[in-house]
């Protein structure tokens, strides 16, 4: 029964059902607040998809991701509020800015490996945060950026309303997922995965490591920038705290809970955690007392994330039921075994 349900979930046609559900969501949402939270969750999900490119597919744990999100948000915010740009040109500029800065950071940082890369990017993230906080002439420092333009709908729709904005974010989200699904199946995506499987192996296959890693990095920061720009257009007030390193940790948590390196993991992870924290709000200060251990348990007992574990369970089940062919969906899914630490001897 469970298996049939799960099999149904992984069928290609199911995605159209989900798109339909997402389209109809504002109709059966209890109120605008739920639409608002859903939009915010979608924005985060886009950022998580970016993280999935560099960390999930390419195997490099980037801890500056939240910083690039903030750069996207700030670029849009500052251009519209201080320099009088209108939303869409500033939006494009935000994408370009994160791509360019991502390129520079990538070229320097991707020479490092494993923990060194992670901690290096952690520092980059912190520097971004500090610069946003301290470089007052440019960023207004702690005061933050106000009066950010909302996206305009060319006279057709008003994106300052929650529901139209929801559809705008949904459109970007669907585009993001579509692009990643195409990417992950393409030669380029396979190249990234080959790098994750091992630098040496990838090189022996004639893959230019640096070029591909930098490309994956730039793609991921651009996704972060896209999410950040949407975020700025949605909340319309941003401050240096938006670059806080905790946001990066949140993004990683979403990714891990959903299933790292899977196509739908980022979405599932983001939605479940966002709604979980919203429902734990009643605990006020104490919500982390529950959330912290929950996170630990998830990591220990669902190391492949929700989506990853489901797919694995499906495969095992399929085998035990004598279904020779593994479910087709798993073709584009990845496990994280390759990013695993060197087989450690633990007596």
């Amino acid at each position: 029964m469970m298996f049939k349900l799960a099999a149904l979930l992984t069928r290609p046609a199911t995605k159209y059902v989900f798109i339909l559900l997402a389209l109809l969501f504002p109709l059966f949402a209890a109120n605008e607040y739920q639409v608002y939270v859903m939009s915010l969750a979608f924005v985060w999900a886009i950022a998580v998809y970016g993280l999935n490119i560099i960390t999930g597919y390419c195997g490099q744990l980037n801890l500056a991701h939240g910083g690039f999100f903030a750069i996207g948000a700030y670029t849009l915010g500052l251009l519209t509020s201080d320099y009088g740009w209108s939303f869409w040109p500033a939006f494009v500029a935000a994408l370009l800015m994160t791509a360019v800065l991502g390129f520079i950071t990538g070229v320097i940082s991707l020479r490092l490996k494993e923990h060194y890369f992670a901690i290096f990017t952690l520092c980059v993230g912190f520097i971004i945060y500090m610069l946003l906080d301290k470089w007052e002439e440019l960023t207004h420092g702690a005061i933050g950026v106000r009066d950010i333009a909302a996206p305009y709908g060319f006279g057709v729709v008003d994106f300052t309303d929650s529901v139209p904005f929801y559809y705008l974010v949904l459109a970007f989200l669907i585009f993001s997922i579509w692009f990643i699904s195409r990417l992950s199946k393409s030669l380029l995506g396979r190249t990234f995965i080959a790098i994750r499987n091992g630098d040496e192996l990838a090189q022996s296959l004639g893959i230019n490591l640096m070029r591909n890693k930098v490309l994956a990095f730039v793609l991921s920061t651009t996704y972060a920038g896209l999410a950040g720009a949407l975020y700025a257009g949605m909340v319309r007030f941003i401050g240096p705290e938006d670059a806080n390193i905790l946001h990066t940790f949140n993004l990683i948590t979403y990714l891990l809970v959903g299933g790292i390196g899977t196509l739908f993991g980022p979405l599932v992870g983001t939605l479940s955690i966002v709604w979980l924290t919203q429902s734990l709000q009643f605990l006020e200060t104490y919500k982390m007392i529950l959330f912290g251990p929950l996170l630990v348990l998830l990591v220990i007992f669902f190391p492949n994330g929700l989506v990853g574990s489901l797919l694995l369970w499906m495969r095992r089940k399929a085998e035990s039921m004598g279904v020779a062919k593994a479910p087709k969906a798993s073709r584009v899914e990845t496990s994280n075994s390759a990013t695993g630490k060197e087989a450690e001897n633990n007596a």
């Binding site: 490996k113 494993e114 060194y116 901690i119 290096f120 891990l256 220990i300 990013t339």
Partner: protein, 287 residues
């Protein structure tokens, strides 16, 4: 000129604290390959335990410090047993996320018990030494001396005792350690306990000239990570030297360049150094 020496004292104070925190972090990394993001929370718990023992129980400063060290050591060992041990075969990213879970939990727990208020610990050493205009509050001197004593004690423990030697052995050659019959679990617990004790000592030494509050570990832990990368992950002297470099960079950078940007100095330094030497300052060969 005095202001210059003043910054030296200040750099040493900061460097001592950073070094102690980084030392625990680097031990855990060097031996167990866990980048323990929850280490800052251990530091924070250490400060609160001292506060609890001094204010609520009425213990003397030194007694409270010892008590705090024991409690934090237990917390650290528990986190190893309950969280990191089950995750020992998982990809490294899982360790990091689990550590963040521990961090969130400990912070919320402390806040639930003591609230978010800024708290103060008063040490018995409130005097100020004045050497011809060079001002050294006793507590700062205590920090510097205390850090020196702790590092020396740790070195003695690691070099001169069998238990200490097993820890170093595990770091230098895991298989070799197994072959002589060293128990991996024991070493793992011991390492976590030591890292907890060092964090508690650092927190208790530093708290009297600072404030105690649930979020106090954030900045310290970030810098500790910078330090262990600078000094080479797993290197004990690297942690001390790295701590001093960051302490001095902050003291002098903050004084002669800009206080606002002094926190960037540490991180900027790391970015520059790693850009030139990807393997850190004190490690030989690439990682």
């Amino acid at each position: 000129m005095n202001l210059f020496f003043q910054q030296i004292i200040n750099g040493m104070t900061l460097g001592s604290i950073y070094g102690l925190v980084a030392l625990g972090l680097t031990l855990v990394y060097g031996i167990l390959h866990i980048p323990n993001f929850a280490h800052g929370a251990l530091y924070m718990v250490g400060a609160f335990m001292t506060y609890f023992l001094m204010v609520d129980i009425g213990a003397h400063y030194w007694v409270a410090m010892a008590g705090s060290a024991i409690i934090v050591a237990i917390v650290a060992v528990l986190s190893e047993r309950l969280v990191f041990h089950p995750l020992r075969n998982s990809p490294p990213i899982h360790d990091k996320i689990a550590a963040i879970g521990i961090l969130l939990f400990l912070e919320a727990l402390v806040q639930m018990i003591w609230g978010a208020d800024f708290r103060r610990i008063s040490s018995p050493y409130t005097g100020i030494l004045n050497f011809d205009g060079l001002i050294i509050p006793e507590q700062r001197l205590l920090i510097i001396v205390g850090a020196f004593v702790l590092v020396a004690a740790l070195q003695l423990f690691l070099r001169k005792t069998m238990t200490g030697a097993t820890i170093i052995a595990m770091a230098q050659n895991r298989d070799g350690a197994f072959l002589v019959g060293i128990d991996a679990n024991r070493v793992a617990m011991m390492t976590f306990a030591i890292s907890g004790i060092l964090a508690a000592f650092a927190a208790t030494l530093y708290a009297p000239i600072n404030l105690v509050y649930p979020a106090m570990g954030h900045v310290v832990i970030m810098k500790a990570f910078v330090i262990i990368i600078l000094g080479g992950m797993g290197s004990i002297p690297g942690a001390i030297v790295g701590g001093m470099i960051i302490g001095f960079a902050e003291a002098f950078g903050g004084f002669y360049i800009s206080t606002s940007y002094k926190d960037i100095i540490a991180f900027g330094l790391l970015v520059v150094i790693l850009s030139i030497r990807p393997q850190g300052l004190f490690t030989k060969g690439a990682h």
